[in-house]
């Protein structure tokens, strides 16, 4: 697979564009999400809102390391930035949150459950951990079709999701099959309100990699450049045939679990500490200091992103809601009986 290797191995130039692209995705996601938050507070959203604030560097680094149209990205609850980096249009998000029937889920499912499975973006179910084996299966299919190597499948989970049997079974199966898979654990120190000491007893979730026989990579999730390089390397290793790679990113969720939650259980000391840094601010400084972008570029990106968000919201808001009268109430694709039962 030499040509694939080349395509993603960062040369100095590629790396620069890549970092810029990651940052832009983070920025677009952040602005979109803060808009969603306002809309939620204004009662304009259908259902709950779950944001990825503080996790954009991790998520976008992953999304941007994957190749849309070839790879698989099973985004999870806090992956707006990764989705954006992977190439999901913002309108998929606003349509879903605002209940447009034109969204990818047609109003049948909502918010972060959206996806386009045929475009390498499976639509998550709520049950945590369940997407790990699903991605493994998508990769198995490709192997059976003879189109592996060449594809990477990736998914993100939280620290809490590592306690699920599904996570364990899925990662283990992927390891047994030596699939080109990347599982990123965004360890944001809490699962809803539950701190990590009630979730696991090991020193570092990274200690699990060896037990599964997979590659292990730890990273400071607030550090954009570190995320780009570590997650990029994990994706590359998977792509090059080294089997599943487990990335554990340390960071903090800078919002509540959902917008209904103020996250007041997160101690101030944590917020004030290194984990509480805002990866977008860190990234911005890194971009300027490292000469990846100028202050003007940053400003323009922000303006562009704000306009784009505005447009995506405006468009979705004008679109019709699903109509129960024209809804096709069928759970199977094939009609075997007149009644459906």
């Amino acid at each position: 697979m030499p040509e694939i290797e080349e395509a993603i191995r960062p040369t100095a130039d590629v790396a620069k564009d890549h970092v810029r692209a990651v940052y832009v995705a983070m920025l677009r996601a952040r602005l979109l999400e803060s808009k969603l938050s306002s809309l939620y507070k204004a009662g304009k959203i259908v259902g709950g809102v779950y944001l990825g604030k503080g996790q954009e560097a991790v998520s976008a680094s992953l999304g941007a390391s994957l190749i849309q149209g070839r790879d698989i990205f099973a985004a999870l609850i806090r992956d707006q930035a990764g989705r954006t980096a992977f190439g999901e249009p913002l309108i998929d998000c606003t349509r879903t949150y605002l209940g447009s029937v034109l969204g990818p889920m047609k109003g049948r499912d909502g918010n972060i459950h959206r996806g386009r499975p045929r475009d390498g973006m499976p639509a998550m179910i709520s049950h945590l951990g369940a997407q790990v084996s699903l991605v493994a299966g998508m990769l198995m299919a490709r192997r059976l079709k003879g189109i592996l190597p060449g594809t990477v499948g990736a998914t993100c989970v939280g620290d809490g999701a590592t306690s699920t049997g599904a996570f364990h079974e899925g990662l283990n199966v992927a390891a047994v099959e030596k699939l080109p898979m990347v599982v990123v654990v965004a360890n944001n120190q809490f699962a809803y309100s539950t701190p990590t000491e009630r979730q696991y007893a090991c020193d570092d979730l990274l200690d699990r990699a060896k037990g599964y026989g997979v590659g292990g990579h730890g990273v400071d999730g607030t550090d954009l450049l570190a995320c780009v390089s570590t997650i990029g390397r994990a994706v590359r290793l998977a792509r090059e045939g080294h089997g599943p790679q487990l990335v554990v990113a340390r960071l903090l969720r800078l919002v509540g679990h959902g917008e209904h939650d103020d996250g007041s259980y997160v101690p101030d000391t944590l917020r004030a500490g290194a984990l509480g840094r805002d990866c977008l601010e860190v990234g911005q400084a890194q971009l300027v200091e490292g000469g990846y972008a100028t202050a003007e570029e940053l400003e323009r990106w922000r303006t562009d992103a704000a306009e784009e968000v505005q447009a995506a919201v405006a468009q979705a808001q004008q679109e019709p809601a699903p109509d129960p009268w024209t809804e096709v109430w069928e759970a199977c694709s094939v009609k075997l009986s007149t009644e459906g039962l």
């Binding site: 889920m105 109003g107 049948r108 499912d109 599904a166 109430w329 459906g340």
Partner: protein, 322 residues
Amino acid sequence: MSVTYVDAILEAQETLLRDDPRVFLYGQDIGKFGGAFKATKGLAEKFPGRVLDSPISEDAMMGLAVGAAIEGMRPIVEMQFADFSSIGFNQIINQAATHYYRTGVPVPLTVRLPSGGTPGSGPFHSQSMEAIYAHYPGLVVVTPATVSDAYHMLIDAVKLDDPVIYCEHKFLYRWLKSNRINGDGLPIGKARITRPGKHATVVTYSAMVHEAVRAAERLKEESGWEIEVVDLRSVKPLDIDTVLASVARTGRLLALGEAFPWGGVTAEVVARVCADGFHLLDAPPRRLNARDTPVPYHPKLWAAHRPTPESICLALRELLAF
């Protein structure tokens, strides 16, 4: 001062923790945080060490509860949503449900399942799983529809020596209020005539009791029909005697539920009534369930997915017209 349905659940747990040292609570975010729906608010502080946050491990949560129950404790497990009990399914149906028959040692645990649909909750935060659990010998499945039942049936569930699946309806949590918790002393296993009538019987449970009453009131106003509403309260055991007595009075049966249409409580009710009270029926019995798709996310779809006062009225009119 009024008590909501979820307050009643909180209060019952407080009472149980206070009065019975064998009781403890186990579930995700139920400790200091007080639970996703605040059904355990303040309990961790009041009963230190007895209200425990669990990892996201529904299988282990249930296995742990069975183990504790075998040792004589009375665990109450909160599933964050009924839908996630699918992960604890194996431990519930194979470990908890079979234990007494296999070993002679009962398993006094209670699983609280925040159940049923609310607008905008979608396919994985709206499920009604009572029929799944009721299928299994060894489980008791209760579905309180009132504030008082929410309280008393939880107390009774925990006192029972057998595993109880306690299905609490999320839609009722804050919407349903009562001036006080006044029990009428009905035990688990007994249904209640929520609204007396004489022209048709609606047998239902949980949140649908209220939709049925609404439909009944509408039909009364509009056309003078007197619809009897039977609240099953527990779906296993199912109080077929009360149901039959009602059908004997009215001659007509509508079995109503919010769950998926294949099988389930409504099928069991109709099948039992037809087997044991065939001669009582003056018209073919009817069923009304949710539609045969996952529970949709958008409120507009959701409202058309589950039975409503409108669709219940429609079904009743057809039943009455027979």
